[in-house]
């Protein structure tokens, strides 16, 4: 009984903490018809100094190929451990990847950036970034290679 009470308190406080400190974040990545294998996409946060914070989503089935997303791999030092529960299938050319997640309030408008690194087998990877600000939310930016349009909604 005591344990149950403790657990309930813990769950309640966690939920409260999330309500206070985190905002829902939706990431929408639309790919071009780039003519290659289904693409692997890494979506991750980078701090104002250019240091990797955490991965938001990893689209791609085989961990063995995650290093092909060169920028993600370089910045995160291959943060395979941080991918638990946030991976999904790769994304075919012309398809759209939509990811729903949360982001801490403290990171918004604080110089943090969202990075999108895309790679496809036998082609090189291409990363792009957008500042994580309330201002940029909802604006569509276009990538050079794979990404037809990327936007996030806070």
């Amino acid at each position: 009984m005591k344990k149950l009470a403790t657990a309930l308190v813990l769950i309640g406080s966690l939920a409260a903490a999330r309500q206070v400190q985190a905002k829902p974040l939706t990431l929408i990545t639309k790919l071009r018809y780039f003519g290659g294998y289904s693409a692997y996409i890494a979506l991750y946060l980078v701090d104002p100094h250019g240091h990797y914070v955490k991965t938001l989503w990893m689209a791609g089935g085989y961990p063995y190929y995650y290093h092909e997303m060169t920028d993600w791999f370089r910045r995160s030092r291959g943060d395979y451990k941080g991918l638990n529960g946030i991976t999904g299938g790769s994304v075919g050319a012309g398809r759209t990847l939509t990811v729903h997640t949360h982001v801490a309030d403290a990171l918004i408008n604080a110089g943090y950036k969202i990075y999108v690194d895309v790679a496809s087998q036998g082609m090189w990877s291409d990363a792009m970034s957008v500042p994580l600000t309330t201002n940029e939310s909802g604006k569509v930016i276009h990538g050079r290679n794979y990404v037809a349009g990327f936007e996030y909604r806070l």
Partner: protein, 737 residues
């Protein structure tokens, strides 16, 4: 156990293996085509710095250089106005053309990796690799058992076409399939993180860079130290604080763009090295010849899936369901069966049904199910075949061990019946072994041990009458393996011989009846002659009988008619029926393949030995010998004036060079001799031919075959050869009746 281990993955994964293997066959061509289409390799001493510098001159916005296993260099570029990937000529650094991957190859790759599904597809493909490994291992064990030991696995394959194809292709492809299976399984496990992470440690990203003016790429020392052949990937820095990231065959490192120094480097760990090896072995990337070999093996696996399914189905069809099968404890009659292919089960059912009809309570089970004692048993029958070179068949594998545990000596009598093939050196060996083991335990024999050659239903019926005598009432065992679909053929010609020497023998020629075929018959091809080869058997059903009699065919269907050679036996039901036929009448018949009695392929001479009607199939082989291969015929008869079968044809075959030599022996003339006497006289000549690879084919009665075997044995003894050895090589074939 191994049969189960072969059957279960085979059946469950057959379709999956077909899809994965078929796509694998297509993909196996890719490395070879890539290598063909790759621009010539650069000079051996060229390093990455030189290559990068020369590409940079031709391609503004160069962002990445990679070298594929085929040696193709791909450059990715990105400027404000354009981006893409180009194939580079490594000798000059010039662009050859844009780099594209074929949509077809991508489609095939997705199919091969995941059947267009996600995780489920990958799991399925991984399981198909596991199934392939199990099939290879169990298949190898089964093959060794069938051939009579590991040393004999490359001996001649015997059996039906499906069986021989399965054995021949399996032997050819097993190493390739094993390699594909093991490497595929490894990759699958690595991708599901069931193996240590192949990526291993990462080089430390440099805390700071020089930050000075970037040096020309051609002068960077760390890049100069890497030969192009070692390069995997080179990513260019995107801003002054960035570095070059280089991946080589040996590891990964970061290079300062101002100083050209390697800032940090991490060599590949052992798991990554293993993974790369496995990847190369599986895909053939960078090793295209291996890729083609694996592709060929995969192609074989398509046929193996098909033949394997056919073999399983035939086996299943031949396993009978026993009616009125009592349990061991209450039965008065125990029937134990040792069977591999299921044929012996068919005979057991015939016995079971006949005894049940006579009022016995039968319990029919496999020999592996031998109980420790039988409470009410009054008699026991053991029917067993032999596996390969004298081993126990599948359903009798544990029999000897269980016999050890049997309580005491049974009070009831036992009848043992073996099944085998005289073409194998150890004819029905396991039956002999069981008989000896039972004898040693002083079991009481109802009948002496008897062995049946090649599932002869006549012999089985004879044995049944002997059983009936022992039981004190009539017992008729009419065994019909799988009731064949019969055809009606019309007798068009008969040539009679041997009347004067009390051996009336006739050559019968049949054609498809001359009636307009129905539409269905035309579609199914049943209007024409069935397909057969000389040496195959035709089963003829005399009117009112279900028991077919088999006769060796003297023609192949290409000759346009079906020919047999039959001697009239006193009281012979079928031979009497045939001899009473007049041209225009029809017979009901079907073809039974006899694929083990054929001349071996090649140019080696063939020695044909036959007496009486035994010349039939031998005449067929000679008739088909249009290429003039050396064929030597030894023929035995009674009197050249009366029963010299095919005398006229033989003369013309000699002039046409279809037949090389003829030696005859006749037993009812002044210079009387048997055909085996001629073998003794010709020992030296025969020995020479056999040493040159000749094959011996014997056809005729049992006594004659025994005599010939002895004569050949004596002829071979001086050179250390034996009939047993020749039989093992498929070079001494018998068709004996």
């Amino acid at each position: 156990m191994f049969r189960q281990l072969h059957k279960i993955p085979g059946l469950f994964a057959a379709l999956l293996i077909v899809v994965v293997a078929a796509s694998g066959v297509v993909l196996s061509l890719v490395p070879a085509l890539d290598t063909l289409s790759a621009p010539p390799a650069p000079a051996a001493q060229m390093n990455v710095a030189e290559l990068a510098a020369s590409v940079q001159r031709h391609l503004p916005g160069l962002a990445n250089l990679s070298r594929q296993p085929s040696g193709k260099i791909i450059a990715a570029y990105s400027t404000d106005t354009a981006q893409g990937q180009d194939v580079i000529d490594p000798r000059t650094g010039a662009v050859v053309g844009p780099y594209t991957t074929s949509a077809f190859v991508r489609w095939m790759t997705s199919l091969h990796r995941s059947l267009f599904l996600r995780t489920e597809g990958r799991i399925a493909v991984g399981l198909s690799a596991l199934a392939m490994v199990l099939l290879c291992v169990s298949g190898a064990v089964l093959l060794a058992r069938r051939m009579g030991g590991w040393r004999k696995v490359f001996g001649p394959a015997r059996g039906s076409l499906s069986h021989r194809l399965h054995i021949e292709l399996g032997r050819f492809a097993i190493m390739g399939l094993m390699l594909s299976g093991v490497t595929g399984l490894w990759m699958s496990m690595a991708n599901f993180n069931l193996l240590p992470n192949a990526m291993g440690a990462m080089p430390q990203f440099p805390a700071s860079v020089n930050g000075g003016k970037p040096a020309p790429i051609g002068t960077l020392q760390a890049l100069q130290a890497i030969p192009v052949s070692d390069l995997r990937n080179l990513t260019f820095p995107t801003d002054p604080s960035d570095v070059f990231t280089v991946t080589t065959a040996g590891g990964m490192g970061y290079i300062d763009q101002a100083t050209g120094k390697m800032l940090s480097y991490q060599a590949n760990g052992v798991w990554k090295k293993i993974y790369e090896w496995i990847y190369m072995l599986h895909t053939g990337e960078g090793f295209w010849s291996l890729g083609l070999i694996l592709g060929l093996a995969s192609l074989c696996s398509l046929v193996l899936s098909w033949t394997g399914t056919i073999l399983w189905w035939r086996r299943r069809q031949s396993l009978p369901k026993m009616k009125h099968n009592h349990i061991a404890h209450t039965a008065d009659t125990i029937i134990l069966v040792g069977s591999d292919g299921g044929a012996t089960w068919g005979f057991a059912r015939t016995l079971h049904d006949a005894l049940t009809a006579s009022g016995y309570k039968c319990h029919t089970a496999s020999m592996n199910q031998l109980a420790r004692h039988y409470a009410h048993a009054q008699r026991m029958f053991i029917l067993t075949s032999t596996h390969g070179d004298g081993a126990a068949p599948e359903s009798a594998r544990n029999f000897m061990a269980r016999l050890e545990k049997f309580h005491g000596t049974p009070k009831f009598p036992v009848a043992l019946l073996g099944f085998g093939d005289r073409q194998f050196p150890k004819f029905s060996q396991f039956g002999h072994d069981v008989a000896a083991a039972v004898d040693a335990r002083k079991w009481y024999a109802m009948l002496p041990y008897h062995a049946i050659d090649r599932q002869s239903v006549q012999d089985f019926a004879r044995w049944g009458r002997a059983v009936g005598e022992a039981l004190g009432h009539a017992l008729e065992l009419t065994h019909q393996p799988v009731r064949p679909r019969t055809r009606r053929l019309e007798l068009v010609e008969r040539i009679d011989y041997g009347h004067e020497v009390q051996a009336p023998t006739t050559v019968f020629r049949f054609l498809a009846p001359d009636v307009p075929p129905t539409f269905w018959e035309r579609v199914t091809g049943r209007a024409a002659l069935p397909r057969f080869e000389a040496g195959d058997l035709v089963g003829i059903l005399p009117p009112g009988s279900d028991l077919p009699r088999f006769y060796s065919l003297a023609t192949s269907s290409r000759d346009g008619f079906l020919e047999i050679c039959v001697r009239k036996h006193p009281g012979g039901e079928c031979s009497g029926y045939l001899h009473s036929l007049e041209p225009g009448e029809t017979v009901e018949c079907f073809i039974k393949q006899n694929p083990d009695f054929r001349p071996v392929k090649g140019r080696a001479p063939i020695i044909l030995i036959g007496a009486g009607t035994g010349i039939g199939p031998l005449a067929g082989f000679i008739r088909a010998n249009a290429r003039g291969r050396a064929m030597h015929l030894y023929f035995g008869g009674r009197d050249p004036k009366s029963d010299f079968l095919y005398a006229e044809e033989i003369e013309s075959w000699l002039t046409e060079r279809r037949l090389t030599s003829l030696t005859t022996a006749f037993s009812r003339i002044s210079d009387r001799a048997y055909v085996q006497d001629r073998i003794v006289e010709d020992a030296h000549r025969l020995r020479t031919m056999i040493e040159r690879g000749a094959q011996i084919m014997v056809c005729g009665g049992r006594d004659m075959a025994e005599g010939v075997m002895q004569a050949v044995e004596e002829a071979l003894a001086p050179v250390g050869l034996s009939v047993v050895k020749l039989k093992a090589e498929g070079r001494y074939l018998e068709d004996v009746y």
